[in-house]
């Protein structure tokens, strides 16, 4: 191995170790903070389970079963030990192990957020390029409108409006749920990713139904995400526009689009990757309103229901999963930026 390659390998190892340390510290802090907040909740989780009319003996039994009669350090210790063994406890609101619940709901959110992210990235970058190429043109105006709509209109209201227009009135797309009733509970969903499961089932019409039901929620999330991606990318491109290397490239006779695609866009990669990472994590955790309006399962809805039910194991489990995603995605983005831009 040459000394240059060894240095690069060592540098990469250092980055990986630092990232792992960051992940560990962040997740530990997240666990402690979430546990503290859940413990301070004014809702009595045992009462939530036994109901208002249960006897004192039943209430005491449930409190004991949930470990609520233990001091909080013991509860935190016991919970942490469980998490380290992959056991997040049993959800009080579903009666199932939290890990099992998360395996069911997380793929649905991942699918929705990833599809939305792919569409948002393509549209957002295209809009940013068009807008940056002609900062006062039609594309720029369109970008402003999209940003305004995506950021100012409540997504909950926009979702209901979309459902009313495209599902109830025009009947162009499927409505709430992930599939039509004819397929929803008849095909197996081993992966929880509806597009894959519907395709793999081989049931005629199931795949088209899955796409039909995904169109509106994906477009909703795209409307929310595309403006942010496009605006930040546009600003980064315009900041590069006056640089010497751009002027030089233009002076050599290269076209506007060629310069933007081959020189300016790569130069803004670190900014674009950062905004993409942030948008993706926001979509993963922030799809709760779309999941609620469209009656789709997902980790956002699972967490919200758990919050209302003071379901501490479910709150802790889903917060840890979302936190892990946040740290991992941002870690990958940081790593990619370092690889793409050796100056960082």
């Amino acid at each position: 191995m040459t000394s240059g390659a060894a240095t690069a390998a060592l540098r990469l190892l250092g980055v990986l170790l630092r990232s792992a340390l960051t992940v560990g510290v962040t997740l530990t802090a997240l666990l402690c903070v979430t546990f503290a907040i859940a413990s301070l909740s004014p809702v009595d989780p045992a009462l939530k389970i036994v109901g208002e009319h249960a006897s004192t003996a039943t209430y005491a039994q449930v409190r004991h079963r949930m470990g609520l009669d233990l001091p909080w350090p013991r509860r935190l210790e016991s919970y942490t030990a469980g998490v380290l063994h992959g056991d997040f406890g049993v959800s009080q609101s579903t009666g199932a192990p939290v890990a099992q619940d998360l395996r069911r709901v997380f793929p649905a959110t991942l699918e929705l957020a990833t599809l939305s992210m792919v569409v948002s990235t393509v549209l957002g970058l295209a809009l940013a390029l068009v807008s940056a190429a002609d900062p006062r043109g039609l594309g720029d105006a369109l970008l402003r409108v999209l940003s305004l709509v995506g950021n100012s209109l409540p997504i909950f209201w926009l979702g209901l409006l979309a459902l009313y227009l495209f599902y109830a009135r025009l009947q162009w797309f499927g409505g709430p749920g992930r599939l039509d009733d004819a397929y929803e509970y008849t095909i197996d969903m081993p992966t929880g990713v509806v597009l894959w499961d519907a395709w793999a089932s081989g049931v005629q019409g199931a795949f088209a139904s899955a796409i039909s039901h995904l169109v509106l929620p994906v477009l909703l999330l795209v409307a929310y995400a595309v403006g942010n991606i496009a605006r930040v990318t546009r600003a980064a491109l315009l900041a590069e526009a006056g640089r010497e290397y751009v002027l030089l490239a233009r002076a050599t006779g290269a076209g506007v689009w060629s310069v933007m695609m081959r020189h300016m866009l790569p130069a803004t990669a670190s900014i674009v990757l950062t905004v993409l990472a942030l948008t993706y994590t926001n979509l993963l955790q922030g799809a709760v309103l779309v999941e609620t309006v469209f009656a789709r399962p997902g980790i956002g809805r699972y967490l919200t229901t758990a919050l209302f039910a003071a379901d501490i194991p479910a709150i802790l489990g889903s917060t840890l999963v979302i936190g892990t995603c946040f740290v991992l995605i941002n870690g990958v983005a940081d790593l990619s930026v370092r690889i793409l831009d050796p100056r960082t």
Binding site: P42, D44, K48, A57, Y167, W172, S209, G255, V293, A310
Partner: protein
């Protein structure tokens, strides 16, 4: 980079093909949306299932799970869907004979579980015993018979292959015992089927969270928490088999989305819509608005044990409050007839319910009561309410009418669980709550409003800190009374006393409304939460 404009013939064809494929895909997607409708032989119900904790009848005690139990399980006795006050119409027992402190039940000869196993006395004994021993949320209902985990087995005896004796140690009459045995926690579970899935001494509790082992008209095909409960018709169902093969109860948390589903036809029934939604759908073609009485009564409670405001224990405040609620305005204008005025703790439709409504909004009268009691010095009270419709709207109405008499109500909206926690710790001053009976017997409600034995936090009277030795004696006498007519008369007497002078102002009774497609026939629903019947539904 120079833009290439040299399109060849083959690339044109490829582009044309791509466009066609895209158009077909989009058309296919649109067609899917356009053709969507609830399939025939399947009833699709849109409601929220977020409240379900368990579908084990020994544990499930939420509205949605109780609605499901009637479709999944039978009890020894249960009300006839068409005549709810007659408990001889349904259930696994074809008859019974009463003795002192006991009843002997004869099982129907054709009673059989969905698994194919016949229903045996052993199943009856095991089911009742297991519910007491598990001691989960609804176990307190069976505890009212004096049964504990240590003693329950002494009270259940197999006489022969078709007869079982059930006895009790509590001083209650047989009509009360029958009501308790008709509650969902007394559902009869298939012992042989369930024991095969038991783990670590849990008596099958974990398995029954999302499976069923009953003899009702349906059985669980699939339960996905927060998503759906799918029931298949039980071909071995008692009487005629259900008309529809499948019931899909979809969990749709948002009321607006439920409305859209039923409007489009993707759902056949939508529950729990808001007053404005019902009003908007009332005359819409293809839909029918159905209204059923509900046993839920809403009331205002003053916590007399809260020493921060001593006036809360002053009966003059209780009296004035009775004239400071706009009963008619709230029921008819604010909540658009989703409620009716009802001023006694037993809901209208319950045996022994008091139908009198002596109170109305009368601010001058309330002012004079407060003045006479020296409470006209600008009293300020906090009012806790659930932070959701219609509770916040009701609280605002109360705030306005109480203010007119010089009583300032400071509204404290909070999560349901938080409000209940505050009530149990005597942290509220006034609170607006609702009550749903645990089983179809007057004692369920009377023991809540008119029984304070321990001064604890179990009954509503205890939570209000209301000390009532005379009423306690009357309530206990009523539950032990063997003469049904005399018993109901005692309950009317107790209701009159609570209506006249108590820290509760009972004001409204709910009406359960739902919207269904106009091709749906045969749906029945009764007063209590568990009285939801899908077995005769056709579409």
């Amino acid at each position: 980079m120079p833009r290439s404009d040299s399109s060849t013939g083959s690339s044109k064809i490829a582009r044309s093909l791509r466009r066609r494929v895209a158009a077909l895909l989009i058309a296919g997607v649109w067609l899917q949306g356009a053709c969507a409708a609830a399939p025939p032989q399947v009833l699709v119900v849109a409601q929220s299932l977020d409240d379900i904790v368990s579908l084990d009848p020994a544990e499930g005690y939420e509205l949605s799970s109780m609605q499901a139990f009637t479709s999944l399980y039978q009890r020894l006795v249960q009300p006839d869907p068409d005549h709810p006050q007659d408990i001889k119409g349904g259930g696994l027992a074809s008859g019974w004979q009463g003795g002192p402190g006991s009843l002997v039940f004869e099982l129907r000869p054709d009673a059989v579980f969905a698994s194919g196993h016949p229903v045996r006395p052993e199943d009856v004994i095991w089911s009742l015993s297991r519910a007491v021993k598990l001691n989960l949320s609804p176990a307190f209902i069976l505890n009212t018979l004096g049964w504990t985990a240590a003693t329950v087995d002494e009270h259940l005896e197999k006489l022969d292959e078709r007869h079982v004796r059930v006895s009790w140690s509590a001083p209650v009459g047989p009509s009360f015992a029958l009501s308790v045995l008709g509650s969902t926690v007394a559902s009869i579970v298939d012992e042989r089927d369930t024991e095969g899935h038991a783990r670590a001494g849990d008596l099958g509790n974990r398995w029954l969270h999302d499976h069923s082992a009953g003899s009702g008209p349906f059985r669980i095909r699939r339960y996905i928490p927060h998503e759906a409960l799918v029931l298949d018709a039980n071909p071995l169902s008692p009487g005629d088999a259900p008309q529809l093969k499948t019931i899909v109860i979809r969990s749709v948390p948002d009321a607006e989305t439920r409305e859209l589903l039923v409007r489009v036809g993707d759902a056949d029934i939508a529950r729990d819509l808001g007053p404005d939604q019902y009003a908007a759908l009332r005359d819409r073609p293809g839909l029918r608005l159905r209204q059923f009485p509900s046993a839920a009564v809403h009331y205002l409670l003053f916590d007399t044990a809260n020493t921060a405001v001593p006036e809360l224990a002053n009966p003059a405040l209780w009296q004035a409050a009775r004239w400071l609620i706009d009963y008619q305005g709230i029921a008819h204008q604010l909540l658009k007839d989703q409620y009716q005025v009802h001023q006694a703790f037993l809901a209208s439709g319950f045996p022994g319910a008091l139908e009198d409504t002596p109170y109305r909004l009368d601010i001058p009268r309330a002012r004079s009561i407060l003045h006479a009691a020296g409470l006209d010095h600008g009293l300020s009270i906090t009012l806790d309410v659930f932070n959701q419709a219609p509770f916040t709207e009701i609280a605002q109405s109360l705030q306005a009418t109480f203010a007119a008499a010089g009583v300032h109500l400071e509204i404290h909206p909070a999560l349901t669980g938080e409000v209940y926690t505050r009530v149990r710790t005597h942290s509220v001053q006034a609170v607006w709550l609702y009550w749903i009976p645990d089983y179809f017997d007057a004692h369920s409600t009377a023991s809540a409003f008119a029984l304070n034995l321990n001064d604890g936090t179990t009954s509503i009277a205890e939570r209000a800190g209301w000390k009532i030795p005379e009423l306690n004696a009357l309530t206990l006498a009523a539950v032990g009374e063997r003469d049904t007519v005399r018993r109901l008369e005692l309950y009317r007497q107790i209701q009159t006393e609570v209506q006249r002078n108590s820290p509760f102002v009972i004001a409204l009774q709910e009406r359960s409304q739902l919207v269904m497609r106009d091709n749906i026939r045969g749906y029945r629903q009764g007063l209590n939460a568990d009285m939801v019947y899908y077995d005769r539904v056709t579409k």
